[in-house]
Structure formats: C-alpha cells, structure tokens
Symmetry: C2
Subunit: 230 residues, 2 copies
DNA sequence: TTAGGTGTATGATTTATGTCATAAAAATAA
DNA sequence: TTATTTTTATGACATAAATCATACACCTAA
C-alpha cells in the first residue's frame, strides 16, 4: 500500500459526510489515504485492530477463513463503503481479512480518532448503529440460506444481490467481474459445484456469461429459485 | 401474553441501566411488562415492528424460517438480553420470530420511545452499537461454520457456546434444557443427524446427557472438534 | 382408562455436494 | 518468445447429511 497525497472528495465516506463543521479540521489532519493494487491486503484476520477504512475507489472482498484453504466471503465492499468496522468493540483483532479485488484507494482513520468522532458526533454514531443493524440482518439471512437453501438457490440469490448492489455496466453485465472461485466462496460452496450450477443455469437460460462477467436473462425464474425448492 | 403490573428491578435491561436521571420518569411511564408462558410468541417474522423487548425473566429463542418447516435458531436470549432489535432501521418488519422456551417476563418499549431514548442518551446508543457489532461478529462466525464446518464440529461448538453463556447448574449440567429439535435448529442440521452426532459424542465420552440436560465431559476434545477435521 | 399429541430413538435409502484427478486455456512472469 | 502460474473446465467417485419410514416412551387431556 502506497500513501496517497491527494485527498478524497469529502463526500464519499460516512465520516466526511456527517462531519460536524467544528470537527472537520481534525478529520482533515487525521485521515490518511492509501492506494492499493489488486490482491493487496488491507488487514488480515487475527491482526490487532488499528483503525477503520473507507473505500474511496475500487472494490474489496471481506472474507473469513477456516481450516487452511477454505474461505467464506462475507461481503463485497464498493466505493463509499466502510471496511474494518467489524474490529470495533471486539477482541481487538480483525475477525476478517480485507483484500482488494482491483486497484483501490482507501481512507484510513486510527481507531482512537474514529472513536473520538463517534463520541462527539451523535448523528455519526446513529448512522453507524443503523449500518450494523442492517448488516446483522443481512448476515442472518445469509446464515439461514446457508443452513437450508441448496447451492443453486444460493447462487441465484447471490447473483440477484450482486446485480442489485452493483447494477449493470454499459454492456449489460453485472458491473462486478468475479472469478468462479470468489463466487463459490461467496455462496459457501466449492468451486466445482458452483461451476456446475452456473453451467446448468446457462443451459436453462437463466443467466449468460462472458468470462468473468455475468448477466441475468430470466430474473423471474431466478427469484423463484430463492423462494424454495419445488 | 398477560400484562404484568409489578415492575422490573430497573437493573436488568440496558435502557434502565444506562438511563439518564432526567429520563427515568419517562421510562417508568412508557415501559410495559408482560408475562408469557412457554411457547408464546413475542413477535413473528414478517410482523410490522412495533417496539423492542428486554427479557427480564426466562429464556427465548430467536429464529428464522424458510420453506415451510425449516427453521434456524439465530440466538438464545436470557435474562437481561435485548430482543427485537433486529427490527430497528430495517424494512420495519421483524426478520425473525421470538418464542418463549419457558415462562418469561419481558419489558417492552414502543419503537418511537426507544428511538427517542437513543436520541437523548449517547451512552445508550453507543452500547447498542457495540452490541450490534458483537452480534455481527458472532453471526458471521456462525455463517462461516455453517459453510465449512461439519455437523459434528458445529454441535461441539454449540455445546461449548451454550455452556459458556449459561454455565452449569447445581447438578453439573448446562443450565439450559434444550429439545433435540431446537438443538438441531440451532446448529442448522436435521433432527436425525443431530441426534446421531450426539449419540456418537456420548459414546466417545465427550458429553453426557440426561433427558434434555447435557454436560461436557471432555472439553479438550470438544474444542479440538471446532478447530477442523483431522 | 384410553387416546392423541409431542418428543425421542434408529434403520434403510437417496441425494446433494464435496473430493480427487487431470487437462486445457489464459494470464503473468521471465 | 518460452516458461510458469493461475484460472477455467470436466469426469469419476466418495460421503456427509437429508429424507423416509417406523416404533416407542412420555405427557396430559378427555
């Protein structure tokens, strides 16, 4: 990660957006920008928590690991998203790893400063609380899916979610290229099964694929796949 | 659910514990107590969110459902625990159901009042945020386990967690009687597999069982089961 | 007392998904 | 360019866990 002198637009992240006028100079003084390239790790599961990140440019995957070689992608973060908040209040070690999926720029705050910001800025704290509440809901929904939904349903669900979060690009594909392996890790299945399911979905004309780009060709049926097996 | 005239001890729940002196009369005026018996439902998945509950006495399971008949228990709540917070900020419908596992008494706040409390009480808001952060971590850990850990490991993990949360009773069993079905729903497996795994664990002298009560007889090995298959 | 529900207990069978093996293709490095 | 690593692609096989079927034990309601 390289330090980046150029500042952010003071609009993208929560801290800047909700910042009190009086607190702005402090934010300006404290924040650090970093550039990172594809594959760079912002922080690793088990590392002591030092601060919190806001993604200013690029995409990042947040993932947990188990038993050498098995990973579960917990979340994909995009511009404006907060990353590293999972370390707050915790055992003071990051419970997840954050890895850049493409060149990215992050805005970083030391934990102490961020906490101080929360102390003085009620609105910021409230927004953060709401954000956690939302993430908790998402997480528990995925938990239930993992427990009861078959892989195909989880895949359909994931694709719909990705489409909703990232939208389509000019060519009509989900604006978020993903390796098959990352897709598999995201839905909590092996590479092979995910691949097979995707192939099946292509044959059924539910999705179309071009390299790492995917598009939904029959959302109706995909939605039904999430509802339950029939 | 029956209304309960008798007040709480003003010590158990977060709102009472962190309440500002000036705000206390309002709390006293607003809070409602309910008694419920085993099997009573506090609120159901999909119901519009009306308020938030604090458990004053008894135990409650918080569960999600999928496709008729399949449930996943998201959490067991005990005295002092908050229940219904998953509704905050959300689509305004509860994403989970809460069911009493034994006779219980709850303290209830209307959502508007609770939100107002958060507005005026920074400390309360901060604690709530930390609580969410913690729950999120737990949830994501369980998510990973569901994705990658075999049933036996999840069972071992669940038993250790339950023991840590509820402790042992005077007879040396986990102070939290659980039906096999609830145990199964908690680890995200079917009743039958859970039963078989439990039987296996009894044979291996890892646990001992008396009806719905369970005790850990070899924590060492149980801990190792969570680490990974070998 | 019987009857009927609910939870417990197990065997037999099926199936979804993971594991293993291998190879082509594509990307990246030398 | 060639070499080498990473990603994609598939088939064959193994197996964990779900499903189905059935029976018994234990309450508690009639």
């Amino acid at each position: 990660m390289k330090k980046n002198k150029q500042g952010c637009d003071r609009q993208t992240c929560l801290v800047c957006r909700l910042c009190l006028k009086e607190w702005l100079p402090a934010v300006q003084a404290q924040k650090k920008h970093f550039d990172c390239k594809k594959g760079d790790v912002l922080f690793r599961e088990g590392d002591p928590v030092t601060g919190i990140y806001f993604l200013y440019r690029g995409k990042v995957k947040v993932h947990k690991h188990w038993d050498e070689g098995k990973e579960l992608i917990v979340r994909f973060a995009r511009e404006g998203d907060i990353v590293g908040h999972r370390g707050i209040g915790a055992d003071m070690v990051y419970p997840v790893t954050a890895t850049a999926l493409e060149p990215a720029t992050v805005c970083y705050f030391e934990l102490d400063f961020f906490n101080a910001s929360l102390k003085v800025n009620h609105e910021l704290l409230y927004e953060l609380m709401l954000f956690y509440a939302w993430e908790l809901q998402e997480s528990e929904k995925r938990m239930r899916n993992l427990a009861h939904m078959p892989v195909k349903g989880r895949l359909a669900n994931a694709l719909i979610t990705l489409k909703e979060k990232f939208g389509y690009d000019k060519d009509g594909f989900i604006a978020f290229p993903l390796s098959r392996q990352d897709l598999a890790s995201y839905i909590g299945a092996t590479y092979e099964t995910t691949f097979r399911m995707l192939t099946a979905m292509i044959e059924e004309n539910l999705v179309a694929v071009s390299g790492r780009y995917i598009t939904l060709t029959n959302e109706e049926k995909l939605h039904r796949l999430r509802e339950g097996p029939f």
